[in-house]
C-alpha cells in the first residue's frame, strides 16, 4: 500500500492560517456600546471570513489529517478502534441537551442514562459502584487516588506512598504526585511482570495504593495478581486498576474479581468513543463496597418506583469536574455497550487479542515479552524505532507508539484492536517489515508522502512560537 496524503502548498507553507487569509479589527465604540468605555476592550482583531471560505479551510485541514476512518492506527495503549456512527446520532438528541442544574424531576432522561451506564460499567469491571464524573483517564486516576486517600484518612491512616511499576503510564506517576504522594517505582522481573520480591520490599504501612495496569503495558497478564492483591491488602493498602488496557479482558476477567479495589475506565478506548484529536474522553471510576461512600458527588440512583435521583455519598470527596463530566461521551459509551452486549464485548476482546497475536506473527521484528494479549512491544533492535515509524507513514498506515515502554529497547508498542481485518493486518505487517528493512537513508529521511516531510521537533521547542501573533514578521 502506498499513500499520498493531501498536500496544499502555498510558498513556504501548506494551508495558510486563518489570520493570513483575513485579519479584521473591530473597534468597540463607546457611542454604541452598552457599557462604559473603562469596562470594555478597545478593539478586537480576528479573522473575518465568509462561510464558504471557512468550509474550504477546515475541509482542507481535515484532508491533511490521519484518522481511524482513514486507515489502521495501531497505537499501543491508545486503543484506536472504530467509532460507530450511530453513537454520534444518539448523542445529538436535542432532548438530552439540557443544563446540568436542572431539577432531578425534570432531568429523568439524563439521570436514567447516567444510572444505566454506572450499572453497565460496574458489572463489566466487577465493581460495586461507579462515578461518571471524571472527564478523562488521568482525571479518573486522580479521582481514584483521592478516594483512596479519603478512605485512609477516614480510618485514621496517614499514608504517604503510592507504588507504581516502572513500565506504567506516565499519568500514574503524575497523578500520585498531584495527590501529594511520594512515588515508589517498582522494577519489573525478567519476564516483564511485577517483581514480587521487589513488591514485598516496597509495601509497608506507608503504602496508600499500588497502581497496576493489567495486562501491563507490554500486554502481559499479571499472573500473580491474587498474591499481589494479598500483599497490598495485608499492608493495609488499596489496589488500583488502570483501565487503559481493559480492551484485553472484556468478558474474560474483571478487575473486581482479581482483588482490585478501585479502577478507572477509558471509555474513549475500550468503549469506542471518538478520540477527537486528543479528547474529549471520559474516565469513570469504579470502586468496591467499602469505598463507595467516598465517591464524588452527585451520583445517580434508581428509586423504588423506577424514577432516578441524584444523591451525595456520605463521605464524598466532592467534585472532580465542574458539572457532570463529558456528557456527550458518556452517551456514546452507553450506546456502544448496548450495541455489543455480552457476546459482542467478549468477542471484541477475543478479536483484539487474536489480531495482536496474528500481526506479531507476521513481523520480522522480535517481540521480547509474551504471551501478550491485545498489544505487544516489538523491538526495532539496532534501528531507531522513531525512524522506522516515520517510514511507515509512507505506506498508508499509522505507526505504533514508539520508544515506550522503556523496558523494551527501541520499542514499537502495537495495538491493532479488533476492528482490523486479516487483509488490513497483512497490509500493516508489510508496512512494518518494509520500513524495518529499509535503508538507513530511507528511514532517516522519511516520510515523504505525508503533508509535511520530517518535522524539526527540536527547533520547535528551542524557539517556541505558539500563536500566529508570534509569527508576525516571518
Amino acid at each position: 500500500m502506498i499513500y499520498d496524503q493531501a498536500r496544499y502548498t502555498e510558498g513556504d507553507k501548506h494551508e495558510p492560517l486563518l489570520s493570513e487569509k483575513d485579519t479584521s479589527t473591530v473597534e468597540v465604540d463607546e457611542t454604541d456600546s452598552p457599557l462604559p468605555d473603562e469596562l470594555t476592550r478597545d478593539e478586537l482583531t480576528l479573522p473575518g471570513l465568509s462561510e464558504p471560505e471557512l468550509a474550504r479551510h477546515y475541509t482542507r485541514l481535515s484532508q491533511m489529517n490521519w484518522s481511524i476512518d482513514s486507515g489502521p492506527y495501531p497505537l499501543g495503549s491508545c486503543t484506536m478502534k472504530y467509532n460507530p456512527k450511530f453513537t454520534e446520532d444518539v448523542a445529538a438528541d436535542r432532548n438530552a441537551a439540557i443544563h446540568p442544574d436542572r431539577s432531578a424531576d425534570s432531568a429523568q432522561g439524563n439521570l436514567g442514562l447516567l444510572y444505566g451506564l454506572q450499572e453497565y460499567l460496574a458489572t463489566i469491571g466487577g465493581m460495586d459502584a461507579v462515578t461518571l464524573q471524571p472527564p478523562a483517564g488521568a482525571a479518573g486516576e486522580f479521582t481514584g487516588i483521592l478516594v483512596a486517600k479519603a478512605y485512609h484518612d477516614h480510618h485514621g491512616n496517614d499514608r504517604s506512598e503510592v507504588i507504581i511499576p516502572a513500565s506504567a503510564h506516565g499519568t500514574n506517576f503524575a497523578t500520585a504526585a498531584m495527590a501529594g504522594y511520594d512515588v515508589v517505582e517498582l522494577p519489573s522481573d525478567e519476564g516483564g511482570r511485577v517483581d514480587l520480591d521487589a513488591l514485598k520490599a516496597a509495601v509497608s504501612e506507608e503504602t496508600a495504593a499500588l497502581m497496576l495496569t493489567n495486562p501491563n503495558t507490554v500486554g502481559l497478564f499479571e499472573r500473580d495478581i491474587v498474591e499481589i492483591a494479598e500483599m497490598v491488602h495485608d499492608a493495609g493498602g488499596l489496589l488500583y486498576y488502570d483501565g487503559a488496557n481493559l480492551n484485553a479482558l472484556l468478558g474474560r476477567g474483571r478487575p473486581g474479581d482479581m482483588g482490585f479495589d478501585i479502577m478507572h475506565y477509558n471509555v474513549h478506548k475500550t468503549f469506542a468513543t471518538p478520540h477527537g484529536g486528543g479528547g474529549p474522553g471520559a474516565g469513570p471510576v469504579g470502586v468496591v463496597d467499602e469505598l463507595t461512600e467516598f465517591l464524588p458527588s452527585p451520583r445517580a440512583r434508581e428509586t423504588d418506583d423506577g424514577d432516578y435521583e441524584r444523591f451525595d455519598p456520605d463521605h464524598s470527596i466532592g467534585k472532580v469536574h465542574g458539572f457532570a463530566g463529558n456528557w456527550l461521551v458518556l452517551i456514546k459509551a452507553y450506546a456502544y455497550i448496548a450495541r455489543l452486549g455480552d457476546e459482542g464485548l467478549s468477542d471484541a476482546s477475543a478479536k483484539a487479542v487474536l489480531n495482536a497475536n496474528y500481526l506479531a506473527e507476521q513481523l520480522e521484528m522480535n517481540v521480547p515479552y509474551g504471551p501478550f494479549h491485545h498489544e505487544f512491544a516489538a523491538t526495532a533492535g539496532d534501528r531507531d524505532a522513531a525512524d522506522v515509524a516515520k517510514r511507515m507513514l509512507d505506506f498508508g498506515v499509522h505507526p505504533p507508539t514508539t520508544k515506550w515502554p522503556e523496558m523494551v529497547p527501541e520499542a514499537m508498542l502495537t495495538e491493532p484492536t479488533e476492528i482490523e481485518s486479516k487483509r488490513t493486518l497483512d497490509t500493516l505487517a508489510e508496512a512494518f517489515n518494509n520500513a524495518y528493512s529499509d535503508t538507513d537513508e530511507a528511514i532517516e529521511t522519511a516520510p515523504s508522502r505525508t503533508t509535511a516531510s520530517r518535522i524539526d521537533q527540536v527547533s520547535a521547542a528551542r524557539n517556541p512560537r505558539l500563536s500566529w501573533q508570534a509569527l508576525d514578521g516571518e
Binding site: S19, E51, G109, L249, G322, R339, G344, A350, I455
Partner: protein
Amino acid sequence: MTQTDGSPFAPHTAAETAAMLDAVGVDTEADLFDIPDEVAFDGAFNIEPRSEQEIRGELRRLFARNDDLTEFMGRGHYSHYVPSIVDHLSDRAEFLTSYTQYQPEITQGFLQALFEYQSMLVELTGLPIANCSMYDAATALAEAALLADRVRQTSGYRVLVPEYLRDGKRSVLENYVDGAGLAVESYPIDDGNVDREALAELADEETAMIYAENPTVRGTIEEGLSEVGGIADNNEALFCLGSDLVALSLLEEPASVGADVVVGEADVLGLPTSYGMGLGIFATRESFLRQVPGRLVGVSEDADDRRAYTLTLQTREQHIRKERATSNICTNQAWVALRAAIHIASLGPDGLVDLAEDCVRDASALAERVDGIEGYQAPVHDRHHFREFVVHTDQPAAAIAADVEAAGYAIHAIDDHLLQVCLTETNAHATDGLVAALQEAA
C-alpha cells in the same frame, strides 16, 4: 432483531478467524488468554445486545423523559446558538476519529486548527501563551492554582476566591490543591463584585493566588479589576481571572488589568448546552511557559523548509516527566477546541462583539421587566450585567422556581429568596412566557 454473533465492529469471517488462529498456532481464541482460572470470568454481564435501530429508539424514549423546558440557566454553563457549519466541519471523521498528534507529519490539519485556537485565545486574553485545552473551567482554575504554587519564589499557601464561587468549582479546586498543601479561602463580595477593600486586608505574603471572575457567576461585570491585580502584585501572588470567550470579546482585556493566568469556559462557543460538558481556557504569561499544564502546539519547519506544526515543549508533560510533570493531564478536549475555533471564525470579530453586546443589553432589558413584576426586585446587584442576573423574590425561591418549572421554564434558585435568570439568543424568544410565569408564581 437481536444480534448474537459477537462484535458487529470486528470484521472477521469464520474462515479468516480460523486462518489467523492457525497462523498463530492455537486452536481457539481462548488459548490466547493467559488468565489464571481463579480470576477468570465467564462473560455473563447480562447485557442484552441491541440493534442500532433499537438503541436509537430506546435512547430517544429515555431522553424524552426530560421535561421539555425552556431554560433560562447559566452559572457557568451557557447556551449560545451554534451554527451548522460547526457540526458539519468538526464532525468530519478525519477530525473526530483522529488521535493526539504524536506523528505530526500526518496530522498537520488538526495541529493547525489547534494552533489557530491557541492564537484566538491569545487575542482574546491579551496573554501570549494559551494551551490547546483543559477539561473545563473548574479544572483549569485548579491547574492555575497549582501553577501559582510552582512558580512562586517564596512560601505561600493561600488561594483566595470570591465567596460566591460555585460550590462545584470550589470543590474541584480544593481537591486539586490539597496534595500541594494549598488552602482555599473566600474573600467577601460587595454588591456582586469583589470587595476590594476587604480583599486588600485579607491578602498577605502567604497568598499564592487571587482568583476573580468577569463576569461573575452572578452575571455582574467587575469594575476594579486593575486594583485586584494590584493587590495580587503587592503580595507577590498570581492574579487569575475567570471569563468566557464571548465576554472576553467585549470586556477589558485580562492582560491590561494585570491577569497572570486566564481560565474559564471556552465551551460557550462551539458546544450547545450539554449537561455541563466543558472546554477549559488556560492562558498565561511568557515567563510561565515551561510551567503550563497540558498540550501546546508550536511552529517548526519540515525538511522541505515549509512551515509545519507540532506538539511542543512536551518535557512538561506526564508521558516524559512522570511525577515531575506540570500536570497529569493527557487526554484533553481537543475536538471541543476545534469546534470553538470554528465558531469563533464563523462569527468573526464583528459577530463576536455584537453577540457580547447583546448579552449586556438583553440581560439588562429582561431584568427591568422582571423588576416591574410585583414581588420581585431585579437585578439584585446594582452593577452592569452580562447574560444573567440575580432576582430577589419575597416568596421562597425554591417554590417560585418549581412553579416556573411547572409552567415550562427552568431558572436557578440560588438562595432562600434569590433566583437567577440567564438570557441568550437561544431563549430570547421566550421572555414573554417567562415573565408571565414569574408573575403567576409571585
